[in-house]
């Protein structure tokens, strides 16, 4: 994905997002990190065309995606937010069905392809046993997986996730992240996600984009990009980066 000259503001005077050039590699997991209000979620919404940018182009495979119809875009790019609502009677299957909208002719009949895609999405998120249960009866992690399954049913190359783990407990956080990692490995999906937890960003990303005040500060491999100095500069927190026995790096916040 190629992002060029992206400008956006919520209020006319102050530019909120100003990005000259950003390339996101296909087939990789790219995580966007940064302090609150730096524009991470806004950037995601802009890429997903849910906000309209005042200037700039976003290309997927040399195609300017703002020129695509909503349905065509829905086949290239899917987005999952941290909090989602559905009517209470919706089952997992009902929800995943919605993801097939860009491919369906009417709102009534499902083709064989639709059913295959729905089944696959449910399988990839490990929800086969629960698929006829109502969303309201599921745990937070299961529910979030259902929303990811909806996005998967769109059969897109790109999957965007806005803080998918923020409202989940520790167990469910890793459940979701492992699920996302599997999607990348098995289905070669390009994942772009926003995370707050720097260690999760470390552990699960192929590339990291650091943002602050609407600009890209640095991007690249996590171990190279996320240094103690950078984190101190962006977040104002002293950290120590240590290496464990298996050569994995961890970020430890230090108390003042």
């Amino acid at each position: 994905m190629d992002i060029k000259n992206l400008f956006f503001s919520y209020h006319a005077k102050e530019p909120f997002i100003a990005i000259d050039e950003l390339k996101i590699s296909e087939g990789k997991i790219t995580t966007i990190i940064g302090p609150n209000g730096c524009g991470k979620s806004t950037l995601l919404a802009l890429i997903a065309q849910q906000l309209t940018y005042t200037a700039g182009e976003i290309y997927i495979e040399q195609q300017n995606i703002s020129r695509l119809s909503r349905k065509e875009l829905a086949k290239k790019l899917a987005i999952v937010y941290q909090q989602n609502e559905a009517p209470e009677q919706y089952t997992i299957r009902d929800l995943v069905k919605v993801g097939r909208y860009p491919y369906r002719k009417g709102l009534n009949s499902l083709s064989a392809d639709d059913l295959t895609a729905i089944d696959k999405a449910i399988e990839l998120t490990g929800l086969v046993a629960l698929q006829d249960q109502r969303l309201a009866e599921l745990s937070g992690g299961q529910r979030q997986r259902a929303w990811i399954a909806l996005a998967l049913a769109q059969e897109t190359q790109y999957l965007l996730l806005d803080e998918p783990t923020t409202y989940l407990d520790l167990h469910h956080q890793f459940e979701i992240l492992d699920c996302i990692e599997k999607l990348n490995k098995n289905a070669n999906m390009t994942i772009i996600m926003v995370l707050h937890d720097l260690n999760q960003a470390f552990q699960y990303s192929d590339e990291v984009i650091v943002m602050s005040k609407g600009k890209i500060i640095k991007s690249g491999q996590p171990t190279v990009t996320m240094s103690e100095e950078l984190i101190k500069g962006i977040f104002g927190i002293n950290v120590q980066i240590i290496e464990d026995i298996e050569k994995n790096k961890h970020i430890l916040p230090l108390r003042k």
Binding site: R70, L73, A74, I79, N84, Q89, Y101, P102, L107
Partner: protein, 321 residues
């Protein structure tokens, strides 16, 4: 699933019983068989009266009840507010204003007043659309603008009542003739059929805007279609029977409790229930204090008021607030 089928069958049976009862009882009591004979040629004095006055009234009640209930259900889906009702949105009062305009200024066009009522309803919707368009007709804005429109139109009606010509609202179903019935049947049938087919669209709108936009669903357009059909149904009914409160609000809610919130299943049920309810209200109104009449509108308010309170008490539990 079985529960839904049973509910439907019960509803149909109830409706048929109410139709039967409504046709028989009244200030003139006749036997059903006489009416049937009358329709097929053998008229006698009493049957003629019933045929000319009561039968159209029964049919109007059925179709207006179904139309108003459907209008309420569609609006609730479109603006995602369980308290939506054609009256709240300003459509009913705008339709009434259409009537007022005809009666006060164009009395020679009296027989076209339904058209003017519909024009009024569409005017209200047009303003609503233009103002809320850039918000994709989101629930809060539609409700607020609707409340404002309601206030404006009601005030204009009141003001016009102050002038020399005294306008009484054409409320109720009394003194309706076959002309009225034919008009209503003609226009509302197509509306009802279209409305009932909008189930899948309404279901999609149950999800958040950003979810359905990201799968490519045309949110604004879908809402627009649903609201137009709702306005159409409500305006036509208001033109013929005037303003009847609570049907658009109560019937969808109670129906939801019985057959669930899947609009594919809900909408037909709402139509049946609305028809039955208005018919019961009208029949009660004209039989309970014979030979006087309480208008259906008043009966609905009498039933509707306490029911609404009951609903609000339960409503809290249903929607988890």
């Amino acid at each position: 699933m079985k529960k839904i089928w049973i509910s439907y069958i019960i509803m149909v049976i109830v409706l048929l019983i109410i139709i039967y009862a409504s046709v028989i009882v009244g200030s003139i009591d006749i036997k059903f068989i006489d009416l049937v004979r009358g329709i097929f040629g053998h008229m006698n004095g009493q049957v003629t009266v019933v045929y000319n006055l009561r039968l159209p009234r029964v049919l109007i009640a059925i179709f207006a009840g179904a139309s108003l209930a459907l209008a309420g259900a569609l609006l609730q889906a479109a603006i995602k507010n369980p308290l939506a009702d054609p009256g709240i949105i300003g459509i009913t009062s705008a339709a009434m204003l259409g009537n007022v305009v005809v009666i006060n200024f164009l009395p020679h066009l009296f027989f076209y007043s339904p058209v003017f009522a519909f024009a009024g309803g569409m005017l209200a919707f047009g303003i609503l659309y233009l103002v809320t368009k850039k918000y994709d007709m989101s629930p809060v804005f539609v409700l607020l603008v609707g409340i404002a429109l309601n206030a404006i139109f009601t005030a204009v009606i009141k003001v016009s009542g102050v002038t020399a010509i005294h306008f009484t609202e054409s409320t109720g179903l009394s003194m309706k003739t076959w002309d009225d019935a034919n008009l209503l049947l003609l226009f509302s049938t197509i509306g009802i059929i279209i409305a009932v087919c909008l189930g899948p669209l309404c279901n999609m709108l149950g999800l958040s805007d950003r979810t359905i936009t990201s799968v490519g669903f045309p949110v604004g357009k879908a809402r627009w279609i649903i609201i137009v059909v709702a306005v159409y149904l409500a305006s036509i009914s208001t033109a013929i029977v005037g303003s009847i409160a609570f049907i658009g609000l109560l019937v969808p809610h109670i129906s939801r409790m019985i057959v669930g919130a899947d609009y594919k299943v809900l909408l037909p049920f709402v139509a049946l229930f609305g028809a039955a309810l208005l018919l019961v209200a009208d029949t009660l109104g004209r039989t309970v204090v014979q030979p006087f009449e309480i208008t259906a509108s008043v009966i609905m308010s009498l039933i509707g008021g306490p029911f609404l309170i009951l609903l609000i008490r339960k409503f809290g539990k249903i929607y988890g607030h």
